[in-house]
Symmetry: C2
Subunit: 194 residues, 2 copies
């Protein structure tokens, strides 16, 4: 099973982290991002959005990091990571949306400007970051894990851009419950650093 | 089952549309958005993100329009709308991410500025819109529906902000496959207008 991958990408890291925790073998295929290989055939045919990661499971293609987490967990990761009941799935999807939207536009956007020079509004992203981290911290005050009281793909989807937030000049040190949750993830068997 | 609702919200309409198509009874509870009721208790306790819609199913709370679609479809809508296999689920989640991210930052952002005066960059949103619509159009050239060859919650999640895009001065008329797909949704039994 191939993962078209970019080392510094938090979205690619979501998949690498989950695969490591769930003991799923991935063949990483590094993509020449600097020269735009992800926006040209054959990769642009696999993912017309021109984004990474892309999963190729014996010819079955899945694009989008969140969708890849659902696919891998449901197919190879077991019910601990993605339960088969809609109530648990919906609880997890809340956090997949939170990372696709709130975290993307704050922690991730600030890092994209700072580390890669993306033409985004870093000041606006930094302004949003404390409210996003506070929401997370308040939730983790009352819960050990983001969803259904155990580690799931919700944690694998949210952890990466929180862990990488200091690279965008976001200070995560005031959020003690976030810190405890991060330490819990980092102590899981198979944990892989960003 | 209560839906805390805002009439002009495309995210609320996603849920109303799906419930109408799947014949699920919802009691709509209009929220006094103009006076910020969604950001104050009791609603801010149901959804700390201060957003609508919020679903209350006999005391079980689900926030986030995409998560509500998963919950309703999985619990009450049947396997046609949200299959029980991870391959189909992942195919749908690709489009839930697409609406949470690409559509949110283009079609929806332009409408938020134009219709509600949100302090977002409308020019930037309008600049992104054609590429987003072209991606959708190219996909719908080869597929009748967004995922798994039938109407699913993916269509209910993506349709609303496409249908509402003209309210943000986005021209959707050049995209003939999008138009055909919209007509297909509009001809489904139970279809509800925005």
């Amino acid at each position: 099973m191939k993962l078209y991958d970019l080392g510094p990408s938090g979205n690619c890291y979501k998949v690498r982290l989950f695969a490591a925790l769930a003991n799923i073998d991935l063949e990483l295929v590094p993509v020449d991002f600097a020269n735009g290989a992800h926006k040209q055939p054959p990769l642009s045919e696999l993912n017309p959005l021109g984004q990474l990661p892309i999963l190729d499971d014996g010819g079955h293609i899945v694009r989008d990091s969140q969708a890849i987490l659902v696919y891998l967990a449901g197919t190879y990761g077991g019910l601990a990571w993605w339960p088969d009941n809609p109530r648990g799935q919906a609880e997890i999807v809340q956090w997949l949306s939170f990372t696709a939207n709130e975290i993307q536009q704050s922690l991730n956007a600030a890092r994209l400007v700072q580390k890669f020079g993306y033409p985004l509004d870093k000041a606006a992203a930094l302004e949003k970051a404390p409210a996003v981290l506070k929401l997370l911290d308040d939730h983790l005050l009352r819960h050990d894990w983001l969803a259904i009281d155990r580690p799931t793909i919700a944690d694998c989807a949210v952890y990466p851009y929180v862990a990488l937030a200091p690279e965008g000049d976001v200070d995560i040190t005031p959020y003690s419950h976030v810190a405890r949750w991060m330490a819990s993830i980092e102590s899981l068997t198979g944990y892989l650093k960003p």
